[in-house]
């Protein structure tokens, strides 16, 4: 039984098509509006290029085996085993790991004077944000997070019931809200505007509807906007 020769052009066509379809979207990790998301998006494009090169290498070798049978008969096995199995991954992975560690380190909420503190508490199925440092006493909002554009905001995230996860893809990566624990996430919205977020950890029947909206205000209007918010309900 002889089968038709392969054409491995499928993924290339699909990739081009997808790129054309665009990276924009209200929840797109690639349509970035903050430094954290932007740095991760760059990481993605770099890794995608590297992955496609490696993938092409494997496909080319497989093709060669069938188009020119026996073409590797003279190659010493050690070349494949040590070269492909040890040297190649070492050369690819080591720089990737260091790059990832360095870029991850820059995204963490290291202590920073001037960062705005906001408490975020998740429960089935809503977010409650508390602004402890608002002028005139703490303020609180539900499902809408008010931040000043251009300034780092440190969210202290926890949960009152099950595990949820705070994620606004255009701004930054996600972090889980876990009962009994408090996690920190630093968020910066570069420009004023609205940024949508979703709960990323499955949290029951209302998981799908547990959305959050980040409203980034021009810096000079932020303090006044906070004052007009409701006081926390206890």
């Amino acid at each position: 039984m002889r089968l038709p020769a392969f054409r491995f052009t499928g993924p290339a066509v699909a990739a081009v098509g997808l790129t054309l379809a665009g990276c924009t979207g209200p929840l797109s990790t690639l349509d970035t509006a903050g430094p954290a998301a932007a740095s991760i998006a760059t990481l993605w494009w770099v890794m995608l290029a590297g992955a496609m090169a490696l993938f092409a290498l494997v496909v080319a070798l497989l093709l060669a085996a069938f188009v020119k049978p026996g073409s590797g008969a003279g190659t010493r096995p050690l070349l494949w085993l040590a070269g492909g199995g040890l040297v190649l991954p070492a050369f690819v992975l080591t720089p990737l790991l260091f790059y990832a560690l360095w870029s991850g380190e820059r995204l963490l909420a290291h202590p920073l004077s001037g960062a705005i503190r906001i408490e975020a508490e998740a429960r089935q199925w809503q977010w409650t944000f508390t602004y402890p440092d608002a002028a005139g006493g703490p303020r609180s909002t539900v499902n809408v997070l008010h931040v000043p554009a251009g300034s780092p905001v440190d969210l202290r995230i926890t949960s009152a019931d099950v595990i949820h996860s705070f994620w606004v893809p255009r701004l930054a990566g996600k972090i889980d809200a876990i009962p009994g624990h408090t996690n920190m996430l630093r968020v910066v919205a570069e420009r004023p505007g609205f940024y949508r977020g979703v709960c990323a950890e499955f949290c029951g029947t209302g998981h799908t509807g547990m959305e959050v909206l980040v409203e980034a205000h021009p810096p000079d209007e932020y303090a006044a906007r906070l004052v007009r918010l409701a006081e926390p309900v206890h």
């Binding site: 929840l27 991760i40 497989l62 085996a65 199995g85 560690l101 972090i175 876990i178 009962p179």
Partner: protein, 838 residues
């Protein structure tokens, strides 16, 4: 010593004699089957039925997500469906499928007549069938688990999942896991001990190496999951707060226990499939695989690494970044042993003259899909990128690339490669090429696009989405691809049926393979080989094409029937030198009865009928003990002739019998479960909120010292029964076993006395975990009593002599393990209050 029974000159007569003792009875007697070919086929067919169920669930998911704001399924049903899709595919399809394939193939590849513990195979199968049925019935009645296949607490705790749904998962899956653990023990012992004479470790087929490593991973991977499931069920049923942060528990403990199992699980599923690739690919490339030793080393390395990277499922739970960096490095390091194997395969293809036959087509599909999945796997191991795409459809796409690429495609290749062996038939016309293209195109359409859906921000486990998200087209394409793939699998099923029903008679060894399974008649008889081959090379069939006929004529080892026994050979582990004649059990209903009683236990726990559960447990243990009545020997036999002018003792008189190894392996799994429990207590102390606890436990040195002394006496006197001067003298050795039983009873009493002073275990995770550790130790002492009394019973009924001491040696292993666990438990319980007081 008597001469070996003369082999009949005629292969047909030899077949009839062997078949009479080995075959599974017809009719109701099928329920008594223990033969590996029968049980292996049952595992495979049942797994395929569950695959169809899981596939239908997947189609429901894709139908729901095809369009935005779909009103097809509501969240309640949708949550059950995706939870069950994952659970069915992982626990009821993938693992049982390769267990079945391994059971069917291993003895034949190794040149043995059956697995080491045929009744255990049968028991495992029934546990799998019954446990899986509990899950399916729950789905049918609309009370299936709905907390996701990883069942995160506190969502799965009683407060947030008050119904029976979560209990169904915990109990059904644990029931099924009995079969995984029993398969692990059995596969390891079979590969290590039941090989053809002369098959040293370095001549073993690679598939056996892969299964050996996989089985070891199962042996230490499943106990944390089973332990976690037991703890969660105890929390749900009796309110012991292991995972409740308000009372010193921690939801993260569940995640650690789950992923400590869950990540190795991925490699547990991948390795058997990689074993298929390493077996099938060189045959179709018409060249010996390159780098045999490299591959063996890389699968062992993969096994070790896979236990060091579970945290990469937890990059977003708030663990310090440097710790994440460690797990990130470990996760990327896994790419190395994987790359070694990929390039060994590629090098073999390039050096050989590969034939593009149907199994090879599926192997190419495997390369394409699995390599892509491996590359996105490296991306996911990169911490910052993981923060973005974790719990999105990017991960869904990645895991399907890895599991479908790394499991389904090789298994489809395996199906077409070994189908002639199973059925004795070859295809006339195959629909397989069409099935391949439908599956391949459908798969990539579904999941390549899904990476993008994830990058566009679609989280996992949402039952619908709004049209303004930009996900509509992506999801529609995925759904269309999904249905194409489903058609491909349907075509594959039809093709299997047609080939089985209408294929032409296959010739022996149709692929010109070198491994021993192709030396059996096709389809194989219950005894596999009429006589066992001496092995001198890795590919025994390559040099001796007519080996099969020679063996059928009885020219190898054990080419006769002696006393109506079912015999195969046991070898020394590394050299493959013949060491013993292993006598295997006949078909029996006992495994079915034991599994039914085990089922009574699990179902009673599910419905909270605890009195009945205790009864079921006791009855199940009792029925397992009954198995031994037909094992062992009441006479010293001395060395038995095995043909070819050689002799070997029966396994009951051999120092290194298979069942001794089984006990060692059970204790490895046992120690892993205990270590997980101890880790749990220490983890909660260090990490969980609301510590230190309101009240510390002071067990008192006297009681603890009593327990340890009693356990030491049990281990010592158990060993003394075997010592020269005791073993030959029935009354002296029996006295030692009575002492051991009394000592274990004392230890049990001491542990119960300590348990009595533990304050209310529902108040704090500290008391709950201490309680659990004490129960664990007490159960060991309780079983120690049974082991000692069982040894006494065996001794008094003639199963023990100066050369037949297997039962007693196994009991000593248990007594020693109980001593170890007792000492470790009490040390932990005494030192923790002291450490917290500092």
């Amino acid at each position: 010593m008597t001469a070996p029974p003369a082999p009949p000159a005629d292969p047909i007569r030899l077949h009839k004699q062997l078949d009479a003792v080995w075959r599974t009875p017809a009719g109701l007697g099928q329920l008594a089957a223990v033969n590996h070919s029968v049980i292996g086929r049952r595992f495979i067919v049942t797994a395929l039925v569950f695959f169809a169920v899981g596939g239908i669930l997947a189609m429901l998911i894709r139908a729901q997500l095809a369009t935005p704001r779909s009103a097809f399924l509501g969240p309640d049903i949708y949550n059950q469906i995706f939870t069950m899709h994952g659970t069915v595919m992982m626990f009821l399809f993938a693992i049982p499928l390769f267990e079945g394939l391994a059971m069917y193939l291993l003895p034949k590849m190794l040149g043995a007549r059956d697995m080491a513990f045929p009744r255990l195979s049968a028991y495992g199968y029934w546990c799998y069938l019954f446990g899986g049925s509990i899950l399916l019935l729950a789905l049918f009645f609309g009370v299936a688990p709905d907390g996701g296949w990883f069942m995160y607490t506190p969502l799965s705790s009683r407060t947030y999942t008050p119904g029976i749904n979560a209990d169904v998962w915990l109990i059904g899956v644990t029931f099924v896991e009995i079969s995984a653990l029993s398969a692990a023990v059995e596969i390891i012992v079979t590969v290590l001990k039941l090989r053809a004479p002369g098959m040293s470790l370095d001549k073993m087929p690679l598939f056996a190496w892969y299964m050996l490593v996989t089985a070891f991973m199962m042996l230490v991977g499943f106990p944390p999951l089973i332990l976690g499931s037991v703890l969660l069920e105890v929390e749900r049923a009796f309110n012991l707060p292991f995972f409740d942060p308000a009372r010193g528990g921690d939801p993260l403990l569940w995640q650690h226990l789950f992923w400590l199992f869950g990540h190795p699980e991925v490699y547990i599923i991948f390795l058997p499939a990689a074993g298929v690739v390493s077996t099938v690919l060189p045959v179709l490339a018409r060249r010996e695989i390159i780098g045999y030793l490299w591959i063996v080393v890389s699968i062992v390395a993969l096994a070790f690494l896979s236990f060091g990277l579970w945290v990469h499922h937890m990059f977003t739970v708030g663990i310090p970044h440097l710790a994440l960096a460690f797990f990130s490095a470990a996760s990327t390091a896994v790419a190395v042993p994987t790359a070694v194997q990929i390039f060994a395969w590629i090098g073999t293809l390039l050096a050989g003259r590969p034939q593009l036959k149907l199994p090879m087509l599926f192997l190419l599909g495997f390369f394409f899909v699995f390599v892509a999945g491996g590359l996105t796997g490296v991306m996911l191991a990169v911490v910052p990128f993981n923060w973005q795409v974790h719990d999105t459809h990017f991960v869904v796409a990645h895991l399907h690339y890895v599991l479908v690429g790394g499991f389904i495609f090789p298994m489809l290749a395996a199906a077409y490669y070994w189908l002639p062996h199973f059925t004795g038939r070859s295809p006339r016309h195959s629909l397989g090429t069409g099935a391949f293209w439908l599956i391949f195109i459908g798969f990539n359409l579904t999941f390549l696009v899904m990476h993008w859906t994830g990058l566009m921000g679609m989280p996992r486990r949402v039952y619908t989405y709004s049209p303004d998200t930009g996900w509509e087209w992506l999801n529609l394409i995925s759904s269309i691809g999904g249905f194409l793939m489903a058609m491909g699998f349907a075509l594959f099923a039809v093709d299997l049926f047609l080939q089985w029903r209408f294929g032409r008679r296959a010739e022996r060894n149709p692929w010109s393979a070198g491994t021993l399974e192709w030396a059996t008649p096709m389809p194989p008889p219950a005894y596999n080989f009429a006589s066992l081959p001496p092995v001198t090379a890795r590919a025994p069939l390559a040099d001796a094409r007519d080996l099969g006929t020679e063996l059928a004529r009885g020219r190898g080892y054990l080419g006769f029937v002696r006393h109506g026994w079912l015999e195969t050979l046991g070898v020394e582990i590394t050299s493959g030198r013949v060491e013993q004649v292993v006598r295997l059990p006949r078909p029996t209903y006992l495994p079915l009865i034991s599994a039914l009683l085990t089922g009574v236990f699990f179902v009673s726990v599910l419905f909270k009928l605890y009195a009945l559960a205790v009864l079921g447990f006791v009855a199940a243990v009792g029925s397992l003990l009954l198995w031994s009545v037909t094992s062992g020997d009441r006479r010293d036999r001395g060395p038995l002739p095995i043909g070819c002018g050689e002799v070997a003792p029966p396994h009951s008189e051999a120092p290194d019998a298979p069942s001794r190894w089984a006990m060692v392996l059970v204790l490895v799994a046992d120690a892993t479960a205990f270590a997980s429990l101890a880790f749990g207590l220490l983890f909660l102390w260090v990490v969980a909120p609301n510590w230190p606890p309101p009240q510390l436990i002071e067990p008192g040195l006297t009681k603890s010292a009593l327990v340890i002394v009693a356990l030491a006496i049990a281990a010592w006197s158990g060993g003394r029964a075997l010592a020269p001067g005791f073993l030959e003298a029935p009354s002296r050795r029996d006295l030692q076993m009575i002492i051991a039983a009394a000592a274990q009873t004392t230890a049990l009493g001491g542990l119960i006395a300590i348990l009595m002073i533990v304050p209310d275990p529902t108040r704090h995770a500290y008391t709950a975990a201490t309680f659990a550790i004490l129960i664990y130790a007490a159960m060991h002492a309780g079983l120690g009593v049974i082991f000692a009394l069982f040894g006494l019973w065996r001794s008094r009924n003639g199963y023990v002599s100066a050369v037949r001491s297997l039962d007693l040696r196994i009991a000593v292993l248990w007594h020693k393990a109980t001593l170890g666990i007792g000492v470790a438990s009490l040390l932990l319980i005494h030192s923790l209050p002291w450490a917290m007081g500092q």
